[in-house]
């Protein structure tokens, strides 16, 4: 179970957690008429089967996982009304890694310090288990679909924009060149905490360094020169040098990558970054969902 994250608790050393693909999570909630921070289920890889015990509205967004309701294949990125006895199945992802299942009113989950986000590393919350009963809200009045041109694509090669900062100036020009001019492969040792990359060695500045706060998307380079992009379950403080942070609205692309897929980076200025984030919020707000039966 994930919501928008447990913000405001960094002083206790608590990370934020929250949906790894904030874009798909947002649309899943929007399609069933929920507030954008409502608790939804993050399904990694797939292989989920649910049986409905009442009437509600649900939507699945994110990775391309075959969705079947009572054996019939259904499209993602739209909402459906389901009734007692209906069987909902999510097969294994054929593209991307994480799907989001939202129900009208949200899943009931116990909040801890203001958020229902599960962070296994911190022992907060638990994964959904076989046989678990998941109380849902009442159905929405209509079903809606996200217009196709707004449906994100999950590519096996992604380009991420980076706001340069932190110790960027301490890296040599050559090291920064290696980082921005080469592509990296996603390591199998990647998880909700961070995505480890493998490729050209990016020489990190050496020397003692005091541990300091880590922002979402921070690009950390340990002495082995293999960058780690810190995501939702990131440590709040760390001591490896950092080149900057991946733009928040690009992090979902990485979170949908599988081991072996390819990542490239592009530097952008703070002004450009803030403008892009503002524009993305504007686009989201302007999208008109399509009503469907």
């Amino acid at each position: 179970m994930q919501d928008g994250g447990r913000w405001g608790q960094h002083a206790l050393g608590l990370t934020t957690g929250g949906a790894m693909d904030g874009e798909a999570f947002f649309w899943a909630n929007r399609l069933v008429g929920n507030h954008s921070d409502t608790t939804a289920m993050e399904v990694a890889q797939g292989g989920l089967q649910l049986e409905c015990e009442g009437t509600t509205t649900l939507a699945v967004t994110g990775a391309a996982m075959p969705l079947r309701i009572n054996g019939q294949t259904k499209a993602l990125w739209r909402s459906y009304q389901v009734h007692a006895g209906d069987r909902v199945e999510l097969g294994h992802a054929v593209r991307g890694l994480r799907a989001y299942l939202a129900v009208a009113g949200g899943f009931e989950a116990e909040p801890f310090l203001g958020s229902t986000s599960t962070v296994l590393r911190e022992g907060i919350g638990e994964p959904v288990k076989e046989g678990q009963w998941l109380p849902c809200g009442k159905p929405a009045e209509s079903n809606w679909a996200l217009p196709m041109d707004h449906v994100p694509r999950y590519e096996p090669a992604v380009s991420l924009r980076v706001v340069q900062g932190y110790q960027a100036a301490e890296f040599s020009n050559k090291a920064r060149g290696h980082f921005y001019e080469n592509s990296f492969k996603v390591s199998p040792r990647s998880d909700r905490m961070g995505y480890r990359l493998e490729g050209h060695v990016v020489a990190a500045p050496t020397g003692d360094r005091l541990s300091e706060g880590i922002a979402y998307g921070a690009v950390q380079v340990p002495p082995d020169g293999q960058p780690i992009i810190l995501l939702n379950d990131r440590q709040t403080i760390g001591g490896y040098p950092k080149l900057g942070a991946v733009l928040s609205i690009d992090c979902w692309k990485l979170a949908q990558c599988l081991p072996g897929e390819t990542v490239r980076f592009k530097p952008i200025t703070l002004t450009a970054a803030q403008q892009l984030v503002g524009e993305a919020a504007g686009v989201r707000a302007s999208v008109r969902l399509k009503r469907c039966e």
């Binding site: 913000w7 405001g8 608790q9 960094h10 002083a11 206790l12 050393g13 608590l14 990370t15 801890f112 590393r121 911190e122 022992g123 907060i124 706001v163 340069q164 900062g165 932190y166 301490e170 040792r189 905490m193 961070g194 500045p205 020397g207 003692d208 360094r209 005091l210 541990s211 300091e212 706060g213 880590i214 922002a215 979402y216 998307g217 921070a218 340990p222 002495p223 082995d224 293999q226 440590q235 709040t236 403080i237 760390g238 001591g239 490896y240 950092k242 900057g244 942070a245 733009l247 928040s248 703070l270 970054a273 803030q274 984030v277 503002g278 919020a281």
Partner: protein, 234 residues
């Protein structure tokens, strides 16, 4: 940190809505006192323009609402907050906490290597790790992960070149002149020298965090049998 660093506070961009404020380059109670004051001032003055802060040894990471305050306005505010700080540490009213540790090459995977790199025996490293009180400078990395300092210079060692994917809960580590106890299984790059059977973070407990910033901690060697008795896991 590099010697070329100019006067403090120094402000660096850390992301599209994050700035890092450096207030010093040393682990010491005077810098820690500045960090606490700047953190408090920023919280008061930013109000709903603030998302959160991450105070650490000598810096404060400020996460802000970029649509409510411009970066240049924030930078100015941060610099103003960094002026006229009190370096006195008289407000340090932390508790004194003793943490048991099962030390040894079996309990700490990096003890032998750390000892050798410093020209010491493992026994000497263990002895020096216990010979002083440590100040808790920050809680972070993971819930209940207390950054403490400073260890004796002769037992300092940089972080591992490649962090481990899974460090056991309770592992006691050294990174440069910092020391800490891992509260839960997590990735980590600190040099492990022993294991502590105390749960540093327990979400179900009335007081979930075992130590707080400003506390003083001393480590005390226990046997493997005592470690297990105190709740340690093999």
């Amino acid at each position: 940190m590099k010697a070329e660093a100019p006067a403090f506070p120094r402000v660096e961009i850390a992301g599209e809505n994050a700035v890092m404020v450096y207030l010093g380059d040393a682990i010491c109670p005077a810098v820690a006192a500045k960090v606490r004051q700047v953190d408090q001032r920023l919280r008061e003055q930013l109000g709903d323009k603030l998302i959160d802060t991450v105070p650490s040894y000598a810096s404060v990471l400020v996460l802000y609402q970029a649509d409510r305050i411009h970066f240049e306005a924030l930078r100015k505010l941060v610099v103003d907050c960094g002026k006229g700080l009190n370096e006195s540490v008289s407000d340090d009213v932390g508790r004194h906490i003793i943490l048991p540790v099962w030390y040894g090459v079996e309990a700490g995977a990096d003890l032998a290597m750390l000892a050798e790199a410093n020209g010491l025996t493992p026994e000497a490293v263990v002895e020096r790790h216990q010979d002083r009180d440590y100040h808790v400078y920050a809680i972070g990395f993971a819930p209940g992960f207390a950054f403490m300092g400073e260890v004796h210079a002769s037992i300092a060692r940089p972080r591992l070149a490649t962090p481990r994917r899974a460090v056991p809960w309770g592992a006691v580590g050294i990174a440069d002149r910092q020391t800490a106890v891992y509260p839960a299984v997590s990735p980590g790059g600190w040099n492990l020298i022993g294991r502590c059977p105390v749960r540093m973070f327990d979400p179900a407990a009335e007081e979930p965090m075992r130590v707080q910033v400003g506390d003083r901690v001393r480590f005390k060697s226990v046997s493997h049998a005592e470690y297990l008795e105190l709740g340690g896991t093999p």
